[in-house]
């Protein structure tokens, strides 16, 4: 009986993993395929990867993406961290309202967020890299808040008071006592913001305007034109990047838990 149980659960897990990762596996295999066909295996090659740096469209999109991601993640981290500190010190009732408002960008359908931001930006500014950065900040801030807030809540409020009591000014007390405790949360919030910004397509697509392409929007337009194995290679690299970042975030939070338990 027990054997059947373990066997069933193993098979079930295998099927889940198959459904989740088979498509990505196909993509990775095709990125090493020495043939323009999607169905014929023409032997192993690294040619598509080697071609990447010489493809202007791809490199252009890569640098645009990096600029947007770094700018938006850094700004979102600053905004989100300050917001978390503010929310933490609000009265319960007000904090609940703020958290609800923070949840909206997370729950809202991307396409609705994208369209509303586009409408707003076309009214007040032009669409371009700048508007994409603003849009990315909008959806990244909640991730930072939700990473920083638990750190604040797990901390005893009396630490700040103790620092004041020992003669520290409020600013010095924050820098010396609160900030060091927040850093892990701020870092994982930043990494989440980077991940979200890197792989966002919908919102970017609506707010980018003509001529600006990030990796994801570029992939979309290029794939419609026809098969380019370089794009498989690029997609594989993007997947690996997101995968590694996820591992880092998980590993960090696991470490944190172990440390808290001790």
């Amino acid at each position: 009986m027990k054997k059947i149980k373990t066997a069933t659960s193993a098979i079930y897990m295998a099927i889940i993993f198959l459904f989740l990762y088979a498509p990505i596996f196909v993509l990775i295999v095709l990125s090493f395929n020495d043939s323009m066909s999607r169905t014929v295996w023409g032997g192993f090659t690294l040619q598509w990867y080697a071609n990447l740096p010489f493809n202007d469209t791809i490199m252009d999109a890569l640098f645009t993406t990096l600029r947007i991601t770094i700018c938006s993640s850094l700004l979102a981290t600053v905004l989100g961290t300050s917001a978390a500190v503010g929310i933490h010190h609000m009265k319960k009732h007000h904090a609940a309202i703020m958290l609800g408002a923070t949840n909206i960008p997370l729950l809202n359908a991307d396409i609705v967020t994208g369209i509303s931001l586009m409408l707003l930006f076309t009214r007040f500014t032009s669409l371009g890299e700048f508007s994409v950065v603003l849009a990315h900040i909008t959806f990244s801030v909640p991730y930072v808040i939700f990473n920083v807030l638990p750190r604040l809540q797990s901390m005893s409020d009396s630490c700040f008071e103790a620092a004041m009591d020992l003669g520290a000014s409020p600013a010095y007390a924050f820098y010396k006592v609160i900030w060091p405790e927040l850093i892990p949360g701020v870092l994982s919030g930043f990494l989440m913001a980077v991940t979200m910004s890197l792989d966002d397509f919908t919102i970017t697509y609506f707010t980018k305007g003509a001529g600006v392409n990030t990796l994801s929007t570029m992939l979309y337009t290029e794939l419609r034109k026809g098969i380019q194995p370089e794009l498989y290679a690029l997609s594989t690299l993007l997947f690996l990047l997101a995968f590694v970042m996820l591992l880092i975030i998980n590993f960090k939070s696991r470490n944190q838990e172990v440390k808290n338990e001790n």
């Binding site: 008071e161 620092a163 004041m164 520290a168």
Partner: protein, 356 residues
């Protein structure tokens, strides 16, 4: 001028009055305990003095200077917090040095102070340990060390022993008293534990619902409680309604008993307090009242007896064993009968009602 003076200090949170025109004077170099049930305003009083709260009205003076609006970081006062509030990412030495670094003391001075403070709290050699590696009692001692290296004029302690087990709490009580003598500074201590208050303080301030109920030495508070709340909160007691017939004669439960109190007037309603350990049991007919034992519980040092006399049940502590159902008589020497005025004002009445 008093060393610390609260002058008509009021404070409320979210429309709820916590302190109502509190007046309190504290002498320099005394060990004062604010004692009361939770929500009585004792911690608020401490936080006002520490500078973590501002009063709604009234003033607080330290050594004659008005410090009502002075922020916490500029007051020559340090606090030992209830949950220790040690900085988790710093070593013990860094924790203790925190205040001294802000005062820009030299590294040599700081090192000396750390050594001295750790010795004082019996934790020599703990400089580079992590906070997490310490037990609750050790963390508490580090919190004390961190506060006293700054040589405050007043040390505030907010239920610092609350989280410790009984044995550790008792030994820490003696250490705190020793520390107090060595440092020669004013200690203001907040607790809801009456035994702790009786053991350590020179002066106890009993508080309830934002009002001071009684201020006095531990002996005064225990032996001569001024009202039913104090009598009931400090130790256990039999509180009985009675009538003061005349000076040195009180009537309660239908009998007239001589006492030593005077000046209450004739035929005045009063509360009579008799401590359970002051009731003496004897053969039936020998005391002022007969009764029957209805309960007997062994408590270690003594037995706790319930004695039914008519429709009143006495609590009696005795070292002798009595059978349940045994007939006895009760006696109390006049000196051990404490007479208290009935609450006169409406507020006092409220306090008494709540307590029941």
């Amino acid at each position: 001028m008093e060393f610390i003076q609260f002058d008509k200090v009021s404070k409320s949170y979210d429309g709820q009055l916590i302190l109502d025109e509190l007046d309190l004077n504290v002498k320099e170099n005394s060990f004062v305990t604010l004692l009361g049930p939770s929500g009585c305003g004792k911690t608020t009083t401490l936080r006002l003095l520490g500078g973590f709260e501002k009063p709604d009205s009234g003033n607080i003076y330290l050594n004659g200077t008005d410090i009502t609006l002075l922020p916490a970081n500029l007051r020559p006062i340090n606090t030992v917090f209830q949950k220790y509030a040690l900085f988790p990412h710093m070593t013990i030495a860094e924790n203790i040095a925190f205040g001294l670094k802000i005062q820009k003391k030299s590294q040599d001075y700081i090192n000396d102070k750390i050594k001295y403070a750790l010795k004082l709290v019996n934790l020599d050699g703990f400089e580079n340990r992590d906070i997490d590696s310490l037990s609750g009692g050790q963390q508490q001692r580090i919190a004390i060390a961190r506060a006293i290296v700054n040589e405050p004029k007043v040390l505030l302690l907010d239920e610092p022993l609350g989280a410790l087990d009984l044995k550790l709490r008792q030994s820490m009580q003696y250490e705190l008293m020793k520390l107090k003598q060595e440092l020669g500074i004013t200690f203001i201590y907040v607790t809801h534990d009456q035994e702790e208050a009786l053991t350590m303080s020179d002066t106890i301030v009993v508080m309830n619902q934002g009002y001071i109920q009684q201020i006095g030495t531990p002996e005064d508070i225990y032996n001569e409680p001024e009202n039913a709340f104090v009598a009931d909160f400090i130790g256990e007691s039999n509180i009985i309604e009675g009538i003061m017939i005349k000076d040195e004669l009180v009537q309660f439960l239908g009998v007239q008993v001589p006492c030593v109190d005077k000046g209450f007037g004739n035929m005045k309603p009063v509360d009579v307090v008799i401590r359970p350990e002051d009731v003496e049991l004897d053969q039936p007919g020998k005391g002022f009242m007969d009764g029957i034992i209805t309960g007997c519980i062994f408590k270690g040092v003594h037995y706790e007896l319930d004695v039914q006399c008519g429709n009143w049940e006495w609590m009696v502590h005795t070292t002798k064993y009595f059978e349940v159902g045994q007939q006895v008589s009760l006696n109390v020497i006049p000196f051990n009968i404490q007479i208290m005025n009935k609450p006169a004002s409406e507020d006092e009445e409220v306090l008494k009602e709540d307590d029941k």
